[in-house]
Symmetry: C2
Subunit: 433 residues, 2 copies
């Protein structure tokens, strides 16, 4: 394996870089002119990976318009959008923490994002406002060689499916990749670190940070020591990096940098289980709003199915035109009998329990086991769908999904449908490669 | 409810008592004569409930032959048996801690039991040898009224199915009943105590005894303060006494003294579960030897069925001409898929697990969940019978049952067979009355 060859395949070539440079030059100049023309106290600033020289092929170009703090938020946002639309006439409005304009210029994807000017150390208004500080910090500290080391790490993480801080991925952001390389020096040293790491990740190495932040990965933001730049990283993403680093070191290969997560083989064989597919229409919201609610619903479903005795095995969440949750269970039907645990015989309500059940329809009891009362009762609902529909009533499944609750569709099947992406994702799950 | 009427029904009438007195008089006199004739240093002694006047109708008569300590054990035993056979020519040999002769005289059941003479406080040779001391202690402390209070308590416990210290019952011995009445004064006070007791029973009331004895019930033996006279009492027997005392106080009735455990109604209704009946030929041993092994086998089976995923609900043990164990499970067949948990990703053997399963037949994985590796494997055995036969191989199920292991019969059925006692016992289980 030759890392220089890998680099050549992931780094923009001369031609691409020339286009990027022209886009940046022309757009910042046009924005400056508009701001001057309209007397707005603001200035354009190239931020993100392109400005730091850590970008991969086909990277987005992020140009921020940094406004004076004297403007109100609505003023800043409306001026920002107006300028954005003027330079990118085909652009569309999107929303992160402030609204912004996203479009194309000379074929490249460009975001024009308004934000406030903030000096380092100031209490932060939003995380978008923090981006220019991150950009400055990395530019001030990174060496030319390290820019390529960051590119290798990003490509490795992208292939592993752990690149990105959005909820859907819950992985490592570009800024985190840069901080890792700044800390460990090179890509290989970073990989060696992950391969031998046990337990949580802390940078700087200081276990006391864990009590302060309570996260699987703590990476102190050098522009704001009270902030964990790795807050988005899930335990599972961290575990994937640990495992893939070991595998890479034991058999290094170019395929770890392919930049696309390979479609895994779909496992066959009779699982002899029950799949329950829960789907809802997709609310008109961005992924980062929907995903946490979908995950919350998944957790509620797993808890409910487990408590009721369907023995859930594993699950998958997918959000596209619908919110989809797949749960595999050991069984789709419960036995009629259910052992209902009563109070200890020496508790105050032992007699009440005894008297109540003596007069009720039951399958057996009340009887004593150990120091407790029990009664065998007959379940009224034994099918997965009816138990879930009934059980879900008592839960708040999130603002946007609550409204769609009545549209919940449930498909129960023993045969996984490999025509559906969520089944393919579920049945191909294995550690790549 | 009139306790005097109850007493009249459970206490021997004049005629029965006259017979008992005659049996005791004639047998002790004949035994004395034989001992004198043969120059044996021993004397007959009436012990047990008859001697203490706490006996119920149809009580056994226990006559011990108390030998001088100068005899060796085999001498004492052979002389004891010889005398027993001479006075009860039709008697049969039985075995407790020493062998003894059991037979009938004037229609009454009589046991002639050899034991050693021991002064109070001596280190004990066997619990049989202790019996005369218990008899003396109770006779010295009990009042005439209290003899009847003991009878009420015994009848109550017999009806509740908790009278007797044999393993099968694991309940309250006659001596314990006497100690309870000596401690609380009357039957009703004893019942009131049980009805309000929370947690373990300790007499005298001293929670520190619990650390010394580690048992649900600690009743210090006044003839040997280092011994727990209530050691045989199981948590379940204690719980039954607590619960039945509450029920009795809330609706007192003569039926609590019927002396036979009422055959409960057999519950119907579809349980929709799987019954597994395990049976073995009965080894040629007494109940107190077989029962602990049967209970041990039951516990092994419950553990095995639970670990393997059959979801056992409850069980029943019955020893008659066969050793029988009934287990009800939520299911009798497992799904093919089994999630096999691997090591944490940051453990030494993570790579071994990964490499091993990458090369093996599997249903999915290895994959990561949280910080661990998992793989979905295919079970080779999914039926209850095959899983149990395979799983049992690694267990020691007790000296006598081990030898019979190959004779283990397993019947799997969804339909309980109410022609069999063990199913009736299981399906009628409820707190009487």
């Amino acid at each position: 394996m030759n890392l220089d060859l890998v680099l050549a395949s992931i780094r923009p070539d001369r031609e691409e870089q020339a286009t990027i440079d022209r886009v940046v030059r022309e757009l910042t100049s046009r924005i400056s002119d508009i701001l001057k023309r309209d007397g707005i106290k603001a200035e354009p600033r190239l931020v993100g990976s392109v400005s730091k020289g850590t970008h991969l092929k086909d990277a987005d170009i992020d140009i921020f318009i940094v406004f004076s703090r004297e403007y109100r938020e609505w003023e800043m946002e409306s001026m920002g959008l107006r300028v954005g639309h003027e330079v990118l006439p085909e652009g569309q409005e999107k929303y992160a923490e402030h609204p912004y304009v996203s479009g194309r210029y000379l074929g490249r994807k460009v975001d024009i994002v308004p934000c406030y000017q903030i000096p380092p150390g100031t209490s932060i208004i939003s995380s978008v406002d923090r981006t220019p500080l991150h950009t400055e910090y990395v530019k001030d500290h990174i060496t030319d060689v390290q820019r390529d080391e960051v590119r290798l790490l990003k490509a490795f993480m992208k292939t592993a499916g752990v690149y990105g801080s959005e909820v859907k991925v819950s992985g490592f952001s570009g800024y985190v990749c840069e901080l890792l390389v700044l800390n460990f020096g090179t890509f290989m040293e970073t990989i060696r670190y992950f391969s031998t790491l046990t337990g949580p990740l802390t940078i700087p190495e200081d276990r006391e940070l864990l009590s302060q932040f309570d996260a699987p990965a703590v990476i102190i933001d050098p522009t704001d020591p009270g902030r964990n730049a790795g807050a988005a990283i899930s335990l599972e993403s961290l575990s994937k990096m640990k495992m893939l680093s070991k595998i890479f070191l034991s058999s290094p290969s170019e395929k770890f940098f392919s930049m696309v997560q390979p479609e895994g083989e779909i496992f066959g064989g009779s699982r002899d289980s029950t799949f329950a597919l829960f789907t809802l229409p997709r609310p008109d919201e961005i992924d980062d709003v929907i995903y946490p609610q979908a995950v919350r619903l998944r957790n509620i479903l797993m808890g409910l199915l487990s408590r009721e005795g369907f023995l859930p095995i594993d699950s998958e969440v997918l959000v596209n035109e619908r919110v989809q949750i797949l749960v595999e269970c050991e069984r789709g039907t419960l036995p009629r009998i259910k052992v209902h645990e009563g109070p200890p015989v020496d508790s105050k309500n032992a007699m009440d329990f005894y008297a109540k059940w003596k007069g009720r329809r039951r399958l057996r009891g009340p009887y004593i086991r150990g120091n407790r009362l029990y009664v065998d009762v007959e379940r009224s609902e034994v099918g997965l769908e009816e138990v879930v529909r009934n059980g879900l009533r008592q839960y708040n499944i999130g603002a946007h999904l609550n409204r769609l609750r009545d549209s919940l569709e449930i498909i129960i099947t023993a045969e996984p449908d490999s025509g559906m992406e969520i089944f393919r994702k579920y049945l191909s799950r294995q550690i790549w490669p």
